[in-house]
């Protein structure tokens, strides 16, 4: 155990990387999800079909395959971007497909009568969308949104496979040096547990708030 203490600052850097990847990927996934949900709900029919097909394809492929594709194809594509940026882009777009479903389902869960009620009291369409539908949809979307965010945090561990120094990657390196897999991977798991458990506690809180609607 004592031999592991010098490794702690090293692991700490991995934790920072994981936090950075998690936050940036979740933000991007939220943005992509919102855009895709909007397209699915409101866009011109052919665009909607295109989005539908894209979503289906994204959901059918493992995240690892997309990360590998990015990792191997990037040098050939002529773009010069940081590996961490590439990772965030892949993870963000991938989970954006899941977020889109969360937002779309939430928007559809707002009863049709709410639109009509808004119209009946003389509101214009953009105001109905923002003040009536969006406000209620956000509340409905909160618990599944948190669950998807937890998937994003866990998903960032895959960047370790393409050589980004997140907490999983550094954990593996420390294990190779110290031969203490239980302690080190236990600590790595604890890092994810703390982040995700924090998020799911937030999710449960959101759930009690969301129940107010029904």
């Amino acid at each position: 155990m004592d031999s592991l203490i010098p490794s702690l600052p090293y692991l700490g850097r991995g934790v920072l990387m994981t936090l950075y990847l998690s936050a940036a990927s979740t933000a991007l996934a939220t943005f992509v999800g919102l855009v895709l949900a909007m397209i699915q709900l409101f866009a011109w029919r052919p665009v909607r079909w295109a989005a539908e097909i894209l979503l289906y394809l994204l959901r059918g492929v493992p995240l690892l395959v997309l990360l590998f594709a990015m990792y191997y194809a990037l040098p050939y594509s002529g773009f010069r971007i940081e590996p961490s940026t590439g990772g965030i882009m892949v993870i963000g777009v991938y989970f954006g497909a899941f977020m889109a479903e969360v937002f779309r389902a939430a928007a559809l869960a707002v009863p049709r009568g709410q639109w009509e009620a808004g119209r009946a009291i003389g509101m214009r369409t953009p105001r109905i969308i923002v003040d009536v539908v969006l406000m209620q949809a956000l509340r409905i979307a909160a618990p599944p949104y948190i669950n998807t965010s937890i998937m994003v945090v866990k998903g960032t561990s895959l960047v370790a496979i393409i050589g980004l120094a997140d907490v999983t990657f550094i954990g593996r390196q420390i294990v190779e040096r110290t031969l203490a897999p239980f302690e080190v991977f236990g600590a790595v798991a604890l890092v994810y547990l703390l982040i995700c458990y924090g998020l799911s506690t937030l999710g449960r809180y959101a759930e009690t708030k969301a129940n107010y609607v029904h």
Binding site: P62, Y76, G186, Y197
Partner: protein, 218 residues
């Protein structure tokens, strides 16, 4: 940057070698997860608070940690303990541990979706609690759990790709070998993605068939 469709087609036949391994992992992983969810949901719903707390703790731990870290823990940990297990077994173990917990939650939600009035009606008619569960609650819960189980199965199929990192020669592993050797990366990963899309589509369709078969016409 060119795309050689002929090479993509040829890589399909090479990747097929990995397909067997992916299926050999995905099928038992899905079945064992569905089975492992049963004792878990029984434990969560039991009256023994100690057992409930223990099961809850297990579920929270496995659901809030990445399956990749669990695989590393089991794979490297078993070797260190002196009982090395293969990457295949370690991967299967991690997949079942994690997805069984998700499945248990799906079962729990399915049982809860059957209103308590149904149970009361059964008890009033003179059935024993066990019979009420078997005859009234379970058939209805079963129908409710098929769509979320289908989603979970798709996630399991996709997560089998992770065992490539603990040297199991499945689809993704083969694709990586091929990519290292030939540098025709676009073709290879296109073919690889196609494999997973076809697999998950077939699985979803099968689950959809099951759902239609179980539906009651009213």
């Amino acid at each position: 940057m060119s795309f050689d469709i002929g090479f993509a087609l040829r890589s399909v036949s090479i990747l097929s070698e990995g397909l067997t391994m992916t299926l050999a992992l995905a099928v038992p992983a899905i079945l064992f997860s569905a089975v492992w969810g049963v004792p878990l949901v029984v434990a969560i719903r039991s009256r023994r608070s100690g057992l409930v707390a223990l099961t809850r703790t297990y579920i929270e731990i496995v659901r809030n940690t990445p399956v990749l870290v669990q695989m590393f823990f089991i794979y490297f940990g078993s070797g260190f303990m002196g009982y090395p297990i293969s990457g295949f077994v370690a991967g299967l173990f991690a997949l079942v541990l994690q997805n069984g917990a998700y499945v248990a939650e799906i079962y729990r939600a399915g049982i809860q979706s059957v209103t308590s009035r149904q149970t009361e009606a059964g008890l009033v008619l003179g059935f024993m609690p066990g019979e009420v569960f078997r005859i009234v609650v379970m058939p209805q819960a079963l129908r409710a759990v098929i769509p979320p189980l289908s989603n979970q199965g798709v996630l399991i199929i996709k997560d089998t790709s992770l065992v490539a990192t603990i040297s199991v020669a499945e689809l993704t592993f083969q694709a990586r070998l091929l990519a290292d050797r030939t540098a025709a990366v676009f073709e290879i990963f296109f073919a690889l993605a196609l494999f997973y899309i076809v697999l998950t589509t077939i699985f979803s369709l099968l689950m959809r068939l099951l759902e239609v078969r179980l539906r009651v016409s009213n």
